[in-house]
């Protein structure tokens, strides 16, 4: 038994001590939730990543060497994320991981990557403290501190007579709770009255009680921090039960999934966005066109953020190749992971989200946010988000 343990330990040490070249194509891990109720977001992220793989490889990948995305489903829980990360690190030997979908999964799985010295780029983790999990953790998903007040200002341009406001938020979703705080401060800062605050759950489907309370409060504007499914349903029920005033939705509304949920009732809803398919920058135009070509629809924010994450990794790989003078495919995997992480942080990137900057912690600063208005097509299932003028 003792000799067996020594043999195993020897094999382990030998395995870790041996230099392993990265090889071609360069493996990049994508660990997002493709099953369970996170699948809706994970599917959009997979689509965005696939567009990135195609577009960036067409542009020559990393100094002529293509990248290859290794997909792992994390499901919707922490155990799934940990398992996916472990597979990508030890089996697929990826140079970096993009994922996971949810913040709570990131808190569980990112320390594993950090310990293994594998860079992680969070495509959609907006909770506080994600970038501070460890040296090897970055994110490209920004909190919504700027966009909420902007969206309210644009709404007041559409109707300057707004006085009384109803606030709705999903109280069981960390992102929406923090977003409603920003909205509520901005509403008070503009001198408007918050007449009623209605709390919901992301799992809710029947909002008749909340809608009745809002209708009874006689408000001019409803400001909502919910996700597409629950928020879309509530918009539908508000409109069906006779509410005709302005509706402003937070970043959770920034998804094409809004259109089929509430159909024509969505038209006119103002949405605060961290990404707009209509964003006027070269990166976004190329990405949007390629996405539409592949999937016959406009990209969602989750797709754009996944694309951005892959682009950040590829740009940083190019930087490493240029500064080291070595071909990435020939570099030792462990050595490359460390060099890659150093290249990812403290850099700026041109992306479909506009220009973003990652600081030394890997925390994002996003320069541009957007405010749009939903226009649903006659089929009631598709639509567009038209940018509102400044």
């Amino acid at each position: 038994m003792r000799s067996f343990i020594i043999l195993l330990a020897g094999l382990f040490l030998a395995n870790t001590a041996l230099a392993e070249p990265v090889g071609s194509p360069i493996p990049v891990g994508i660990a997002v939730g493709q099953t369970t109720n996170v699948a809706l977001f994970g599917e959009e992220q997979v689509n965005g990543a696939k567009v990135a793989e195609k577009l960036l490889n067409e542009k020559g990948g990393v100094g002529g060497t293509p990248i290859r995305l290794a997909f792992q489903d994390t499901g919707g829980d922490e155990a799934g994320a940990i398992n996916a990360f472990q597979n990508l690190i030890s089996r697929d030997k990826v140079v970096a991981i993009i994922g996971p979908t949810l913040s709570q999964q990131a808190f569980a799985a990112n320390p594993i990557a950090n310990q293994a010295k594998v860079p992680v780029v969070g495509p959609s983790n907006t909770a506080k403290g994600i970038a501070q999990i460890g040296e090897y953790v970055s994110r490209i998903s920004a909190p919504m501190t700027l966009v909420a007040p902007n969206a309210l200002k644009r709404a007041l341009k559409l109707n300057p007579n707004v006085k009384n406001v109803a606030v709705v938020y999903a109280q069981d979703d960390a992102f929406n709770v923090s977003e409603t705080g920003i909205f509520q401060e901005a509403i008070k800062g503009m001198g408007l009255n918050i007449t009623t605050i209605q709390k919901t759950s992301v799992k809710d489907t029947d909002f008749t009680t909340q809608v009745t309370a809002i209708l009874g409060a006689g408000v001019d504007m409803v400001v909502m921090s919910c996700l597409a499914a629950d928020g879309g349903n509530m918009v539908k029920q508000l409109r069906q039960l006779g509410y005709e005033g302005l509706i402003v939705g937070g970043n959770g509304f920034n998804s094409p999934n809004m259109y089929p949920v509430c159909g024509q009732e969505c038209t006119g809803v103002i949405v605060a966005q961290a990404y707009s398919p209509k964003a006027d920058n070269a990166e976004n135009k190329a990405f949007s066109a390629a996405f539409k070509d592949m999937f016959k629809k406009d990209p969602a924010q989750f797709s754009a953020q996944a694309y951005t994450s892959v682009k950040v990794v590829v740009d940083a790989l190019n930087e490493v190749e240029k500064s080291s003078g070595k071909k990435i495919a020939e570099m030792d995997t462990a050595e490359l992971r460390t060099a890659l992480n150093a290249a990812i942080v403290s850099s700026s990137y041109d992306t479909p989200l506009g220009e973003i900057v990652l600081d030394a912690d890997g925390e994002i600063t996003q320069k541009t946010f957007y405010v749009s208005q939903i226009k649903v097509a006659d089929d009631g299932k598709t639509g567009t988000m038209e940018l509102l003028p400044e």
Partner: protein, 316 residues
């Protein structure tokens, strides 16, 4: 608490509770005959809703293997509802063939069938996602023809609002419950099903083809699951292939609360939980999922056999 709030909550609770009741009836029918829970019932609920959507709307969205494809026809909602329910019944039969019959034939422990039904449920849901993706589907606003979207009444200066879809849910659910009661108590087949549930061996000796009746039970159970899935989907949209999971858990709470194997119990349990959820103040709506299980816990402490369940008498 004012009268309008109480009335509003009552209407909401009655509407959603009647759907829970239909859904739970599917569980109860299978349990009363086989003595086991069919964990694939939530998946059948989901598939039924998707089948109705496909028949009524005729296309398959933009993700998955069927992306961009469409059916050469569209059915009016009542026919699509019927078609979706029948297809769900067919899926129920498939579940019986895959998860239950092979194990029953080998005399396996009933617990194994429970696990295998859970496996079949996961396979079905994953196949569904593979085919149509995880995007949200919603029935178009005009699905109910020229009916108005809602009715809004003013009472004491307050607003009482009823969505048309809530009335449709209530009417369809009550009609289905009455039809099922008539079928079970007034038809030869219904009585044969009850005899099979009472004692399969004796029923077999009396010339009842037990396997055939078990299959029929799964068909009826699946159709009820599909019908309830469609009613929920028509009201709130189809929130991805996993949207039946929470209803599956709630259905379990309903049948235990009402009394395992009791058909009237399933109806009462559904209504009690629906009303319990509806009377929850808006501020606590995120606790909705817990309501069913808190009620279950409290009632089981007082009546371990459930509201209308019969106590098991052990002869010694």
């Amino acid at each position: 608490m004012n009268i309008v709030f109480l009335l509003q909550s009552f209407i909401n609770g009655l509407s959603i509770g009647s759907v829970y009741a239909i859904f739970a009836l599917g569980y109860t029918l299978v349990f009363s005959i086989l003595g086991i829970i069919n964990f694939a019932h939530g998946a059948v609920f989901t598939l039924g809703a998707y089948c109705t959507y496909a028949l009524a709307v005729g296309d398959f969205g933009l993700n998955g293997l069927l992306a961009g494809m469409s059916l050469p026809f569209r059915l009016p909602f009542p026919l699509a509802l019927l078609g979706g329910s029948l297809l769900a019944g067919g899926i129920g039969v498939l579940v019986e063939r895959l998860a239950f019959r092979p194990l029953r034939a080998k005399g396996a422990d009933p617990l194994l069938a429970l696990v295998s039904s859970l496996g079949v449920a996961l396979i079905l849901v994953n196949c569904l996602q593979f085919l149509v993706g995880a995007e949200i589907y919603a029935f178009p606003s005009g699905i109910f023809g020229s009916l108005p979207m809602a009715m809004v009444f003013k009472m004491d200066g307050k607003v009482l609002a009823v969505r048309t879809v809530q009335i449709i849910i209530l009417v369809v659910s009550l009609a289905m419950l009455l039809a099922l009661a008539w079928f079970m108590n007034r038809t030869r087949m219904g009585k044969a099903l009850q005899a099979t549930a009472e004692n399969p061996e004796t029923a077999s000796l009396l010339g009842i083809h037990v396997d055939r009746y078990i299959l029929s039970t799964f068909f009826i159970s699946g159709a009820l699951g599909g019908l309830s899935g469609t009613l929920i989907g028509a009201s709130f949209g189809l929130a991805g292939p996993y949207f039946g999971v929470s209803y599956g858990l709630k259905g379990l709470a309903v049948i235990v609360l009402g009394g395992l194997g009791s058909i009237p119990g399933a109806v009462l349990g559904g209504l009690v939980i629906g009303l319990g959820e509806a009377f929850l103040p808006p501020d606590y709506s995120s606790m909705k999922e817990a309501v069913a299980f808190v009620m279950l816990f409290v009632i089981l402490l007082a009546r371990p056999q459930g509201l209308l369940g019969r106590q098991t008498i052990q002869k010694v």
